[in-house]
Each structure stands twice: as structure tokens, then as C-alpha cells.
């Protein structure tokens, strides 16, 4: 009864990028029923990437990153109210204010939050921040604008590196402490992480690798930190950039397959129950989801990517209001970008799903290159540094499972384009920063030897 699907009650839990885009897409595709969007932050949907870039640099304020609406989703917005549970049998979402919302179909898009510093008391020291929300961005931007003596960034992932880059642009002294061998190593592997380390040091970052922060010091206000190598960093601002935690706790008793790596769903965004049975009225999209992808061995992917949130939300919305044979799979290739230390880094595919890499175009010396990642003889990912316009070509190679290394003939071909070297992606458990892409398949702790 396709007509019925265009009507009824839809509840979306999560009022950020995925939630908003799904709401818009539902209306765009002709949903005429009632639509309620629940969000625990008291704000209309806003964009997060600028929080670690323009906002810290003072080029924009944290309250100006509201997401533009492509159309009025004609939704009832329940903002500032968290969801505390879902009753799958009664089809109701429970809210923290005691109310419950009945639904015919539910979309879960609760995303992630910043992983907090593990010692709660140290985490509350004045001057200790995480960066995920608008308030985080506002607070940190104000503190940086006040001109601290030194900023300590814990974690050399993308967020940590972007914060360090912003600090240097503001001419602030900054120390980055990373437990792994180099920044970005978890996302990009060995070779590019070495470039990232060189760029950080060239830009005046005090980069400490192979160390962990053992304690944050201060009496009320943060004054510095102890490192595992016995040294101490004197600083007055600390940013904890240890990756993200998926917002799934509220689903603990729901019977859905929700865990630390996200909520498992099928390629059509339909959630699984804890028994591995697919639901047909509960859908998942965005950072909180984990979904199988045929190009990556059908492993379950967890992505923290802006583009994935948009595309998955649109697929989920489509499937929520269309009958089975008209439903679509979410098969898009993961893409993300980062700007730091004057470099534009873009990635397509899943770089961690690799055993070897080649520099296909450009060179490390020129700071402009395309690195191609291969797994068992086929192309699975590419990362460009200041060469973003080449990305579509490599995306096409990934989509068509092209042989690795890529064929000869490219302009600006690197001398070593035929010399694959190990991709050198470390086990994520040895890093400070959490991965922004994770393969969470059958053997998630041995990601490179599966399939």
C-alpha cells in the first residue's frame, strides 16, 4: 500500500545534519503525514565542520553555523529534549520529560558526542575542552581569542590536528600529544601520517608522539599535564580530541542491535534487532549507524563523515516511505575532507581497508599528491593532498574495483607510482584518536586480514 507509506506518523530522533536532511527528503518525496524531530540540543540543526575551523579562527561565530534548510520540512521540532528509550512493540519513543511519542516509522540519527577525558574531576578543570557542540566551539574560540600561553591538544586525529592548525594560525603555542607514531595515522596510514607530522612541526607545533597524557593538573583551573614519558607540558588550555562516542545508551533496553560501534542496519538503513532480525519500521542514518558495504567486503562501516550523513539520510527517508521493491541501497563511497596547516586533504573510499599504497600523482616533496590505497590487488581508497580535482577519477576506480596499482599514463605521475609500499594502518587501539572510519565487521580488531 504505497499510498499509506506516504502518510502516518514519522518520528526522527536526532536534530543535526542527518535528521534535518531526512526530514527535508521525506517531504520532498511526498510524505504528507505528521513529522516530529527530537533533538537534545536546544538549537535548530547546525553545521559542525566550521566549529574546528572558521569558528576557532574567529572568522565566524559559533551561533552562525545553522544549517540552511533546503525546504521547510513542516515538522514539529522537539528541541532541548533528549530521548530516553524506545518501545518497539508499542511503537513509542520515550522522552526525558516523561512524554512519549507514538510513531509508525522511526528514524534514529542521534550521532556521536565527543569522547570525554576519562577522569571526570580532571575533565571539569577550567580550561579543559572537548569540541563537538556549538557551546564547545564558542567556549574554545573565546579562550583561544584571549591569547593563552600554550594549548595542549590530546589526540592527533583530524579534529585534534585541525585545532592545532587553528592555534598556529592564531600564533598560539600548541602541543599535540598522540599515542600513535604520528598524527592522522589511524585514518591515512604510515606514509601520509609522516607528511602530517612534518607539516605540524614545520608550522611550529610541538608534536609529541608515542606518548599518552597521564594526568591533567590544576587546582580549579588547568595548568598543565603529565605525559607518560615523564615530561610535563605547561599549558592553560587543553583540548581533549580523543574521537567520538556513539549516542546509543538510550537504546540499551530497546532490543535493537545498538552497541559502542553504533546501531547495525542493512544497506537500506533498516535497523537490526539484537537477534540480527531486520526491522521494517525503524531506520538509522548518520554517524550512529553501521552498515554493510559490498565494496568493502560487506563489512559493517561506521563513518563520521558529513557527506555520509547527508546521503544516508536521503536513502533512509526514501525507504521509509516506499515499498520494498522501490527501496534503494545506501552504496555511496565514503568521502571526507579536512583543511589544516594550509593543506587540503580529501579522501575517498576507506583508506584503512588496505594493505598497500602508491603515490600515483605528485610527490611528498611538492606537498601535492594523490595516494592510492589497495587491498588484495584492487583499489579501495585514495587520498589527495592539494589535488582535490583528481578525486573523481579515483572514486571511479574504487567503484569499478579497478586493479591496484592504478594503470599508467597519468599526468604528473610519481616516479614511484609502480612501487607499492605497505599501507601501515595501525590497530586503532594503539591510538589516542578514535578512527573516523571504522570497519566493524566480523573481526573488527584484525581489520586487514579479513574477507
Amino acid at each position: 500500500m504505497p499510498d499509506d507509506l506516504k502518510n502516518g506518523r514519522i518520528v526522527i530522533v536526532g536534530a543535526s545534519l542527518a535528521g534535518l536532511r531526512a526530514a527535508e527528503a521525506l517531504r520532498e518525496e511526498g510524505f504528507t503525514g505528521s513529522l516530529t524531530v527530537v533533538g537534545d540540543e536546544p538549537y535548530a540543526p547546525y553545521d559542525r565542520p566550521p566549529l574546528s575551523k572558521q569558528v576557532l579562527l574567529g572568522q565566524a561565530t559559533a551561533d552562525t553555523t545553522e544549517l540552511p534548510m533546503r525546504r521547510d520540512p513542516e515538522a514539529e521540532w522537539r528541541l532541548g529534549v533528549g530521548a530516553t528509550g524506545v518501545d518497539l512493540l508499542a511503537r513509542r519513543v520515550l522522552l526525558e520529560d516523561g512524554e512519549s511519542l507514538p510513531y509508525d516509522r522511526l528514524l534514529i540519527a542521534t550521532g556521536t558526542r565527543a569522547r570525554p577525558w576519562p577522569h571526570p574531576e580532571e575533565a571539569t578543570l577550567d580550561g579543559v575542552f572537548t569540541l563537538r557542540t556549538r557551546e564547545d566551539g564558542k567556549g574554545l574560540a573565546e579562550r583561544l581569542a584571549a591569547g593563552p600561553e600554550r594549548v595542549l591538544v590530546i589526540g592527533g586525529g583530524f579534529t585534534g590536528s585541525e585545532i592545532a592548525s587553528a592555534c598556529r594560525e592564531l600564533e598560539l603555542q600548541v602541543t599535540v600529544a598522540e599515542r600513535g607514531p604520528a598524527p592522522l595515522v589511524g585514518a591515512l596510514g604510515g606514509t601520509l601520517s609522516k607528511l602530517a607530522a612534518v607539516m605540524q612541526r614545520n608550522h611550529g607545533v610541538d608534536l609529541r608522539t608515542g606518548v599518552t597524557v597521564t594526568a591533567l593538573n590544576g587546582n580549579g583551573a588547568f595548568t598543565g599535564a603529565q605525559l607518560s614519558d615523564g615530561s610535563r607540558v605547561e599549558a592553560d588550555v587543553c583540548v581533549v580530541a580523543l574521537g567520538a562516542v556513539r549516542n546509543v545508551e538510550w537504546l540499551a533496553d530497546s532490543g535493537l542491535a545498538a552497541g559502542p560501534r553504533g546501531i547495525a542496519c542493512d544497506a537500506g538503513c533498516r535497523a537490526f534487532t539484537m537477534y540480527g532480525i531486520v526491522t521494517d519500521d525503524v531506520f538509522v542514518a548518520g554517524d550512529v549507524s553501521r552498515f554493510p558495504h559490498p565494496l568493502f567486503g560487506y563489512q559493517m562501516l561506521s563513518l563520521e563523515h558529513w557527506g555520509n550523513a547527508v546521503e544516508q539520510a536521503e536513502v533512509a527517508a526514501h525507504n521509509m516511505i516506499n515499498p520494498g521493491p522501490l527501496q534503494r541501497p545506501h552504496l555511496s563511497i565514503p568521502v571526507f575532507w579536512s583543511t589544516q596547516f594550509g593543506l587540503n586533504i580529501k579522501s575517498v573510499g576507506v583508506p584503512t581497508y588496505s594493505d598497500h599504497v602508491v603515490i600515483a600523482q605528485g610527490s611528498l616533496e611538492a606537498r601535492r599528491l594523490a595516494m592510492v590505497y589497495g587491498y588484495k590487488g584492487r583499489v579501495t581508497a585514495a587520498v589527495t593532498v592539494d589535488m582535490a580535482k583528481s578525486l573523481d577519477y579515483y572514486r571511479h576506480l574504487i567503484e569499478t574495483a579497478a586493479p591496484f596499482p592504478p594503470p599508467p599514463g597519468a599526468a604528473d605521475r610519481a616516479i614511484a607510482a609502480d612501487v607499492p609500499i605497505p599501507s601501515d594502518v595501525p590497530d586503532p587501539s594503539v591510538l589516542s584518536h578514535g578512527p573516523t572510519v571504522a570497519l566493524t565487521g566480523h573481526l573488527p580488531d584484525r581489520r586487514l586480514s579479513v574477507v
Binding site: 605528485g362 601535492r368 580535482k389 583528481s390 573523481d392 594503470p407 599514463g409 604528473d412
Partner: protein, 394 residues
């Protein structure tokens, strides 16, 4: 007729008013259609888009064995292309001059107003000679720092260069090539001379910025400066004229769309995008494989000439819904009007601004305007396709 003569038929002057049925034939016969002269012709959107992003596709004529001395970045591959394009972009666009183009808005409006001031209701004008040509010429002159009164001088050079760059299968190109080479040398010398006059006396134009660049690493050599300046001056006015003229022609042919735009001028930016799809100023570009390739199942050898019919890709029903309909409200419109990939139109943002300003200023006057001749007489050029004249009665 056989598909291996398609390029000859498309470039035949008789096809200029309406090459679109031939493009449909090309897509039908495609995606890759080899021509009698050995050229490979491609007219389907997805194949064109993929090849425009393919680093194995060269724009450098030397890849095809043609001997040339000096080339502008339009005909160079990376990394040389990237270096020169970046240096040329320095005084023109982001990241170093992000406000340059937008900052010309008032000036473009002013020039537009001056040109339209002499238009009287009931009068017959040639939209090309009286408006669509002088506007971009004035803008690019201002931007580069070239005296507008020298227009007759560089128009002759530009004509010769554009003719030499056209696609003419089977024609003897010795004379046009020679004339093109001579024009390039003369025009380069002329522009270098203008740049020299600004050395040490910087003014607010691009020639001045090029010649007064203090950082040696960011400075163009004399030869590079000449090639770049020639390219920018020609590209700056040979294409926008078609965009504006095609826009007026398209709207006058569709009174209901013209009415719609007159009622909702805020649709103009979208309408300009739709024009870039529906009647693009640049119809074809050439690429040369740097290695033996397989393109959609057809082997194409290294060094072959591959012609990408951008205007055909723009009408591909596999990409665009109802592609032969001009729809100024079209939303999903990733057209090939400016190309794509690393060689995507350098001056695109400026062309958009000029076309929006020009059509916006003309809209109030087009309500009663009529085409005097339809189809109008076209320029010879098949690659840069557009009317030579567009007589209209206001």
C-alpha cells in the same frame, strides 16, 4: 548516414544553427564513435565527465606528436598546468583574491547600463555587436589592464587564434595554423609591452599584478606571462559573448519562459546555469590519451585525438530529465558548460556574473522584443558556437 562522418557533419557550417539532432545521433551510436579521420568522438555525459577527470587524458598537443614551442596552461598537463594556473589565479580568485570577481559587480552593471542607454524602443539592434560583444570586452580589458580602444587590434589576433583552435576534420589547416602562430606572437608582444609599462607603477589590474609580483617563486617568466595574458584576453571575451547571445535568443524563442523570468528575476542565476547546459558557449574540447585506454569498451590508442562533445553531454537523457527542454527552474544541473576536472573554466565565476548582469538588465526590455531573423547567422567556429549577429527589434 554513417556515424563515422558525424564530426564532419557536426562541424559543417550548415549544422551550426542546430547541431542537436546530430548529437542525439552521436549518443545513439556511442559512447565512443570513431571517425573516418581516426578521431574518436564522444557525446555521452558520464563518459565525458569521467574523461575530463582522467589524469591519463592530456590536453597537450605534443602528446599527439604535434611540435609546438610554447603553450598556455589551457593546453598543458599537470604539474606545469597547475603551477601556471595557480599563478594566474593569484590576482583573480580564491584563495588569494577571493573578492576580485564579486568586486567587479558594480562596474559590470555600470558598463551594462552604458551600453543599453542607446537602445530605443522600436529600434532594431544587433545584440552581438551592440551589447553581447562589447560588454565582456570592456570587462576583461578592465580586469587585465588593456585599453578598450585597442579592441580592433586584438580582435583580429583573437579571430585568427580562435580559428586555428577550431575542429575542422579533413580541412587543410596549414594557413590558419600559420596565421594563428603569428597572431599569438604579435598579441603576446603587445600584452607584454602593456605589462612592461606597469612595472614599478602598479595599478589595479592583473597585468600589473603579474609584472610587479615581488616573490620570485610566484613570478611568471616573460614567455609565460605572454601566453597567459593572451589566453585570458581571448577566453575572457570569446565565450561570454556566446553565453549572453544564446541567452537572449533562447528567451526570445520561448515567450512563456521569458515571462516567467521577468516575473521572477531571482531565478536568473539558475536560468544562467540552464543556459550553460542548454546552449553552452563551448561545444567541444579535445583530449589526447597518454596511454592506450579502454573507453567504455572501445580501445583508444595513445596519442589519438578524442573529441568530447560537451554540448551533447549536456543533452544526454541518461543524465538530465527531459534534456531538450529549457527549464530555468532545473535543480539538478551539473552541466558541462564550463567543463569539469582540473581544466574547469578559469573565468567561470566572472562569466556567470556577466551573464546574470547582462540578462538581468535586458529582461525589462525584452517583453516586446522580437527576433528579426531566426535562426540568426552563426559564427564559423564549431567549437565556440554562437550567433555572429542577433538582430532584434526592441
Amino acid at each position: 548516414m554513417a556515424s563515422e562522418t558525424l564530426l564532419a557533419r557536426i562541424t559543417d557550417y550548415a549544422s551550426r544553427p542546430n547541431p542537436y539532432p546530430l548529437y542525439a545521433e552521436l549518443r545513439e551510436a556511442g559512447p565512443v564513435v570513431q571517425q573516418v579521420d581516426g578521431t574518436y568522438l564522444i557525446g555521452t555525459y558520464h563518459e565525458i565527465a569521467a574523461l575530463l577527470h582522467d589524469p591519463r587524458m592530456s590536453v597537450d598537443p605534443r602528446t599527439g606528436g604535434v611540435e609546438v614551442q610554447q603553450l598556455p596552461f589551457l593546453r598543458l598537463d599537470d604539474p606545469e598546468h597547475h603551477r601556471l594556473r595557480t599563478l594566474a589565479m593569484w590576482p583573480f580568485g580564491p584563495p588569494h583574491s577571493p573578492r576580485r570577481v564579486d568586486g567587479m559587480r558594480d562596474e559590470i552593471d555600470q558598463i551594462t547600463k552604458e551600453l543599453l542607454a542607446s537602445f530605443e524602443a522600436g529600434e532594431q539592434v544587433d545584440l552581438v555587436d551592440d551589447f553581447a560583444y562589447p560588454l565582456p570586452v570592456a570587462v576583461i580589458c578592465r580586469l587585465l589592464g588593456v585599453p578598450r580602444e585597442d579592441e580592433p587590434l586584438f580582435r583580429a589576433w583573437s579571430d585568427a587564434l580562435v580559428a586555428a583552435a577550431d575542429v575542422r576534420p579533413g580541412a587543410d589547416t596549414t594557413e590558419t595554423d600559420k596565421a594563428g602562430d603569428q597572431a599569438r606572437v604579435e598579441m603576446g608582444g603587445y600584452l607584454l609591452n602593456l605589462a612592461e609599462q606597469r612595472r614599478g607603477k602598479p595599478s589595479d589590474d592583473m597585468l600589473s599584478a603579474f609584472v610587479n609580483e615581488p616573490d620570485a617563486a610566484l613570478r611568471l617568466t616573460q614567455q609565460e606571462l605572454a601566453e597567459t595574458a593572451v589566453l585570458l584576453l581571448i577566453a575572457g571575451h570569446e565565450t561570454t559573448v556566446n553565453l549572453i547571445t544564446n541567452g537572449v535568443l533562447t528567451l526570445l524563442r520561448r515567450p512563456e519562459q521569458l515571462d516567467h523570468l521577468r516575473r521572477e528575476p531571482e531565478l536568473l542565476p539558475r536560468a544562467v546555469e540552464e543556459l550553460l547546459r542548454y546552449e553552452p558557449p563551448v561545444h567541444m574540447r579535445e583530449r589526447i590519451p597518454r596511454a592506450d585506454l579502454d573507453i567504455a569498451g572501445t580501445p583508444v590508442p595513445r596519442g589519438a585525438s578524442v573529441i568530447l562533445a560537451l554540448a551533447s553531454g549536456n543533452r544526454d537523457p541518461k543524465r538530465f530529465h527531459d534534456p531538450d527542454r529549457f527549464d530555468p527552474t532545473r535543480a539538478d544541473n551539473q552541466h558541462l558548460g564550463f567543463g569539469s576536472g582540473i581544466h574547469i573554466c578559469f573565468g567561470g565565476p566572472l562569466a556567470r556574473l556577466e551573464a546574470q548582469a547582462a540578462l538581468g538588465a535586458l529582461l525589462p526590455r525584452l517583453g516586446t522584443a522580437r527576433l528579426v531573423e531566426d535562426p540568426p547567422p552563426y559564427r564559423q567556429n564549431a567549437m565556440l558556437r554562437g550567433p555572429r549577429h542577433l538582430p532584434i527589434r526592441l
